[in-house]
Structure formats: structure tokens, C-alpha cells
């Protein structure tokens, strides 16, 4: 079976977070793919911090770099063609980018776990659920086969799979999509990780199942106190669960703030576009669903100036010429739009629904540090 980890190593997870540091700190991370067709700036200056018990929502269209960013953090991008071009990722004060592959193997699944979009293909078809669930425990915790199986049954029970003693012997194809995603969650949480990165965990599922899966992740978070990074293209999905939201466009965060700030006080036209494209049954006012026109730009030949300018209905010559930096609109709220601080511009163009609630205490809440 697996080569048991023989070297004695203090798990990073058991050490306290150093003074002044966060559980996870992503600092101006840049990762480019070097391809025949040119350099693809897939991750281009992403920064955020995360603490235990927190949930970060990462939102953007497909190709905006939200998944690649987190695969980079996990060290799951093949290098080459990928290459770290700058920045750092620190977990409990230690740089993940500087770790050896062996050290990263200790981190993955044990300290930081990840679940993926398609539960249909994310489980190995030729092994039983129990074997796959127990794999991490045997690897990171040195469990015996029997111990791992016993724990697998408990985990399945925990994520609400009926009749776990039987199901643990089943193969992935004998589970439905929603059940498989529950298995994925159980698998990710098996070693009690600090951080759970969920990459579009509900996109491939039925709407009714989606809510159950999100609810399950929240429940587990309450129980274990882990942090969650929820990656999605659907702002609606993170609306209820995220403490902070990072909106990404073309490999770059364009707006960052608390959920409240993003929903009710956003100042970036791209965020507005995302908000306008959520169909919301509870909206009191009828408003047309306005899609964002055009397609995300090629990451090889980014437009000059603001990357969103070709699709932005309000773009000016300045936008097309000059790339906007981070403009702080609140203590922990920034936006990459030249006109973020222009009150008239924001008042005139932001989605009406969020304006109407602007009176809500938008800046009152801080990032929700635990």
C-alpha cells in the first residue's frame, strides 16, 4: 500500500498562527502559462487573507482565473507550462510556494483540501468509495485499513448518506451526482483540514441538490471551524454563505469586500454586471436581466488599460489607456475602477436594487475575523 510517512513532522495544522499573520495569506500572486501561442497571464496579482471559520467567495466568469488561482495555491498546476511570476502564498506564516513537493503532499488533503466541480468524474471509477475515503487518513494519519474503513463509515454518515455501512463498499457509479458530491466533501474533510477549497461544487448538480450541498458545507464548517473558499461563477450561490467576496476578471481581482459591500455597495461595473445577471425572485422591483455583453478577453493579448474596458458600457478614453489600480472604497473594500470614488457615477449606474438598500450598514461589518 502507501509508503507510510516515516519522518517525524509536526503538522503545520497543529501549530498556532503566528502573531499578526492570517491562516492563509495570498499576496500579489502571479502565475503565467508559457505556451507556444504566447504568455497566458492566468493569475495576475491576486491577494486576500482568510481565517478559520471564514468563508471567502470567489466569483467570476469562466476563464477569469478563479480556479487556476486556487490550483496554484494547492500546487496542482504543472510547472511548466505554468510558472510563478511573483507574489507569495503563506499558510500559518509559512510560504507554500517555497515548500518542496514532499512538504506540499503533507499539506494537501491534510491542511488544505479541495473539492471539484464534477463529482461524476472526480472519483476513481475502479475503487470503492470506502477505499477512496480512507486513502487520505491512511496517508496522513497512518490509519490501518480497518481503522480507515471504520472512519469512512462515520464520515459518510456525517455527510448524510443513508446506510453508510453498506454504501462504503459501493463504487462511485452506484451513487447519484448529489451523493457523490457528499462523498467528495466527506473525503475532503476526512483529515479535518483548516481550509476547504470548493471549486464550483454545485455547478454540475440539480438546483435542489445545490442548496443541500451548500447547506452541508456550512454545517460542517460550524462543526469543524474550517475556512472555506467557495469558487463559483454564480454570485447568487455565495450570497448567503460568504463573509468576503472577491470578484475576478481576466486573472485579476477587480473588486474585493464583505458580502454586504459587494451586494449593496459595489463600485465596479463588472460586479454590477454580475449582480444584474442574477435572477432574484425576491426583488421587489421588476428589472430586466441584463447579461454582460461580449466575451472575456484573451489572456494572451489583454486589452490595454482596464481589461474590462472593451465590454464596459461606461468605458472612457482613460479606461482604455490606463490600467486602474486598487482604489480603497472602504477599510477592507477595494475596487479596480477609475471611477470608484466618483459618487455621482456610482449612484447613477449601480444596480438600483443595491442602491435602494445602500442605507444598510455597509461598512459596519469587518471581514469577519474569528
Amino acid at each position: 500500500m502507501f509508503k507510510k510517512k516515516t519522518r517525524v513532522q509536526m503538522h503545520l495544522k497543529d501549530q498556532p498562527v503566528p502573531e499578526g499573520a492570517h491562516l492563509l495569506e495570498v499576496d500579489d500572486l502571479k502565475m503565467y502559462f508559457h505556451t507556444q501561442d504566447g504568455v497566458v497571464k492566468a493569475v495576475d496579482g491576486v491577494s486576500y487573507t482568510l481565517d478559520r471559520g471564514e468563508t471567502l467567495g470567489v466569483v467570476g466568469e469562466s476563464g477569469s482565473g478563479k480556479s487556476v488561482t486556487h490550483l496554484t495555491i494547492m500546487g496542482l498546476i504543472d510547472m511548466p507550462p505554468g510558472r510563478i511570476e511573483g507574489g507569495d502564498v503563506r499558510y500559518r506564516g509559512q510560504s507554500l510556494l517555497k515548500m518542496s513537493e514532499e512538504q506540499m503532499q503533507d499539506i494537501r488533503g491534510n491542511d488544505i483540501a479541495m473539492i471539484f466541480q464534477d463529482p461524476m468524474t472526480s472519483l476513481n471509477p475502479v475503487y470503492t468509495i470506502g477505499r477512496q475515503l480512507g486513502e487520505g487518513l491512511r496517508l496522513h494519519r497512518g490509519y490501518s485499513k480497518e481503522e480507515a474503513l471504520k472512519r469512512s463509515v462515520e464520515l459518510l454518515d456525517m455527510v448524510g448518506i443513508p446506510n453508510p455501512e453498506q454504501r462504503v463498499k459501493d463504487y462511485p457509479h452506484q451513487f447519484s451526482g448529489g451523493m457523490r458530491q457528499r462523498v467528495m466533501i466527506a473525503m475532503a474533510l476526512a483529515c479535518d483540514p483548516d481550509i476547504l477549497i470548493a471549486d464550483e461544487p454545485t455547478t454540475a448538480l440539480d438546483v435542489t441538490i445545490q442548496a443541500q450541498i451548500i447547506e452541508l458545507m456550512r454545517e460542517m464548517q460550524k462543526k469543524n471551524g474550517n475556512a472555506i473558499v467557495m469558487i463559483t461563477h454564480d454570485l447568487g450561490v455565495v450570497a448567503d454563505v460568504a463573509d468576503k467576496i472577491m470578484v475576478m476578471y481576466a486573472g485579476h481581482p477587480v473588486e474585493f469586500g464583505t458580502a454586504e459591500e459587494i451586494f449593496y455597495n459595489s463600485t465596479h461595473p463588472y460586479t454590477w454586471g454580475l449582480i444584474r445577471s442574477i435572477p432574484d425572485p425576491v426583488m421587489t422591483e421588476k428589472h430586466p436581466l441584463t447579461p454582460i455583453k461580449g466575451n472575456p478577453p484573451s489572456l494572451v493579448t489583454l486589452p490595454s488599460g482596464c481589461a474590462f474596458s472593451p465590454r464596459c458600457p461606461y468605458a472612457t478614453d482613460k479606461c482604455r489607456a490606463e490600467r486602474p489600480g486598487r482604489i480603497m472604497v472602504g477599510p477592507n473594500h477595494y475596487s479596480c475602477c477609475h471611477y470608484s470614488l466618483d459618487k455621482d457615477f456610482v449612484a447613477k449606474n449601480a444596480p438600483k436594487t443595491s442602491r435602494s438598500k445602500a442605507a444598510a450598514p455597509a461598512h459596519a461589518e469587518k471581514g469577519g475575523e474569528a
Binding site: M74, R108, G109, F116
Partner: protein, 346 residues
């Protein structure tokens, strides 16, 4: 799983009937009256001739084996469909007809002597194919674009583009002639025959060149399939899941990738046993290997068509049965088939 096996066996029946029908039709279109061909220049008396015809089921017989006559005292020609069923029945009992040339010796008795040689050769070849082909494919995939990858890709392109019998001759030339001359006769490999009839241990050197020749093409395909399967599997989502769990590359390859990638490769190798038996005709001819293949070649040169068709028939039936076994054993390898998963999830 039972359902899957039953389905496979049921699918096998029409294919079997179809193939035997084709063989039967071929045999019965062979130009010339078989009895005349057996007799050659000899003049047969009517009783002997009728007995021969009866033994070929060309005319009807009573249950006790005596020849049936109509009211005019003439023999009755057996209808085609009846002859087909008699043919299939005979086939199942190992009755393949009579050789033209070997003075009425039955085809099955001629082939029975030769079969062990061919089967042994094919088994050695399939081991070579599996070990070298899978090994080369794995190295190729894991060390992609390396020297080894290019070497394996290049060699497999050559192997599938050259006639296997020509490769056999090149090997004979190098290992049997050139090497013998260069080492003054100290080291060389035998290039003709199978050693003794009992496949004793010291005979193994006789197997090297023919088995390699026989395996060469399949080996190339095995390496290609193994390489592409492994590369494909390594791109699957569940491999990413395993990586995200913290497994090392080695563990991922051994525990997660290989089992999935091997399923189609093992199927290919199993299915290929038949191809090897078919290829044996050429290989055995080159190496004077005393098996079914060489016998078939001799029969071709002597225009002994019943013997040619007989050995083709045997090989074809063996191939079909092996394919059925491989198909069924697939179920044991792949849980998705074992438990009847819908096709789109495989």
C-alpha cells in the same frame, strides 16, 4: 454481472453462426468436385465413390450410416441447409474434412500434431508483447517527450509499417548470420525450427526470434495504446482529486492511474491472441516453425484447399472463443461493467 455475461454469450451466437456460414459457403464454392480432387487420377468404383460422398455429407444417409436411395435407386443430394448444420455439428466435434494431398488424412488429425507448437509460440509472443509493450508504453507516457518516448514512438511506427515476415528475416540475418560470423560461431540464435518436439528447457532459444517477430506489431500497438491511455488517465479529474489528497506522483501512478489505464490494454492483448495465431502463418513460414501456420503455408503451395480452410476455420473459431472469454473477463476488471453502470458513465 450475470446479465452482462449472458448478453455477451447471446451476442456471440449470431456471430458464430455467421462466421461458420461464411466458411461453409467458401468451402462449398471451392471449384471442382471434392471427390474427384481426392481421387486424383485414380478411377473410383461407384461404391467407394458413394461412400466417400456420404462421408462428406454430399448425399443423404440413413441413421445407421448406410446410403439412402430414392425409388429409382439413385442417391439423394443433401440439401444445402442440412449440409450446413451437419458442417457446424462436425465442426463442434472437430471434424474439418479431409486433406486432398495427404491421401485422405483428416484435417483435424494433421492439425492436432501441429497445434501445440503454434500455441506455445503464441503464448511466448503474448508474454513478450505484454511485458515489453506495456513497459515501453508506461515509460513513454511518464517520461513524455524524453529520448525514450521518441525512441518508442519511432520504433512502434516502424514495426507497424513493415511486414512482420521481413522483420523476421532481418532478425535472422542479424542474430543468426551476422552475429555468428562476427563471434566466430560463439554466439548466435537459431533461426529455423523449434528445437525438439517436447519444448524442453534447452529449446527456449528457438523461441526468441520467432516469438519476437510474431509479437512485434502487437507490441507496437500495445505500447501506443498503453501510452495514450496512461496520458489520458493522468488527465482525468480523479487523478487531480488524488493529487489534492496529498498522494505522491508515484502512488498516483501505481494506485490510481495504472489500473484504469490497463483495462483497455489488457483487453487489447487478450483480443490480440487471435491476431497472433493468424500472424503465425507468416512467422512460422519464415522460421520453418513446425506449427499450424507453416502447415497452412505448405497446404497453400500444394493447393490443398480443404487443409487451408480447415486450419483457417480452427484459428477463427479459437479466436472467437478467446474474444468471448476476454469480453466476459472484462467484467471482472471493471466494476462499472460488473455492476451494470449506464454506458455514458464508462
Amino acid at each position: 454481472m450475470g446479465k452482462y455475461i449472458i448478453k455477451r454469450v447471446l451476442q456471440f451466437i449470431p456471430v458464430f453462426l455467421g462466421v461458420t456460414l461464411i466458411l461453409f459457403s467458401l468451402e462449398n464454392i471451392v471449384p471442382g468436385d471434392p471427390i474427384r480432387l481426392i481421387a486424383g487420377d485414380k478411377k473410383l468404383d461407384p461404391v467407394t465413390e458413394n461412400n466417400l460422398r456420404a462421408s462428406f455429407h454430399l448425399i443423404e444417409t440413413n441413421d445407421d450410416g448406410t446410403i439412402k436411395y430414392d425409388e429409382n435407386g439413385n442417391t439423394i443430394e443433401t440439401p444445402m441447409w442440412e449440409r450446413y448444420f451437419l458442417y457446424v455439428g462436425g465442426l463442434l466435434h472437430g471434424d474439418l474434412g479431409v486433406s486432398y494431398q495427404k491421401s485422405g488424412q483428416s484435417v483435424s488429425s494433421i492439425l492436432a500434431d501441429k497445434y501445440p507448437y503454434t500455441v506455445r509460440l503464441a503464448i511466448v509472443a503474448i508474454i513478450l508483447e505484454a511485458v515489453l509493450g506495456i513497459g515501453a508504453g508506461i515509460v513513454s507516457a511518464l517520461k513524455r517527450y524524453s529520448f525514450w518516448d521518441i525512441f518508442v514512438t519511432f520504433l512502434s511506427a516502424l514495426f507497424v509499417s513493415m511486414p512482420a515476415f521481413w522483420l523476421g528475416m532481418l532478425l535472422q540475418l542479424f542474430f543468426g548470420v551476422f552475429l555468428k560470423d562476427a563471434t566466430g560461431g560463439a554466439f548466435y540464435l537459431p533461426i529455423s525450427g523449434a528445437g525438439g518436439p517436447y519444448a524442453e528447457f534447452q529449446d527456449w532459444v528457438y523461441y526468441i526470434l520467432p516469438a519476437f517477430t510474431l509479437a512485434a506489431i502487437s507490441m507496437a500497438y500495445t505500447a501506443r495504446i498503453m501510452r495514450s491511455q496512461l496520458l489520458e488517465v493522468m488527465n482525468q479529474d480523479y487523478i487531480r482529486t488524488a493529487k489534492a489528497k496529498g498522494l505522491s506522483r508515484k502512488d498516483i501512478v501505481i494506485h490510481h492511474a495504472l489500473k484504469n489505464a490497463l483495462i483497455p490494454v489488457v483487453t487489447y492483448i487478450g483480443m490480440d491472441f487471435g491476431g497472433l495465431l493468424a500472424g503465425a502463418i507468416l512467422t512460422e513460414t519464415v522460421f520453418n516453425w513446425p506449427g499450424v501456420g507453416y502447415e497452412t503455408y505448405r497446404a497453400i503451395t500444394q493447393r490443398d484447399w480443404p487443409l487451408v480452410l480447415g486450419s483457417v476455420t480452427v484459428i477463427v473459431v479459437v479466436v472467437m472463443v478467446i474474444n468471448l472469454i476476454v469480453d466476459v473477463s472484462y467484467a471482472f476488471l471493471d466494476p462499472r461493467i460488473r455492476f451494470g453502470a449506464p454506458k455514458n458513465e464508462r
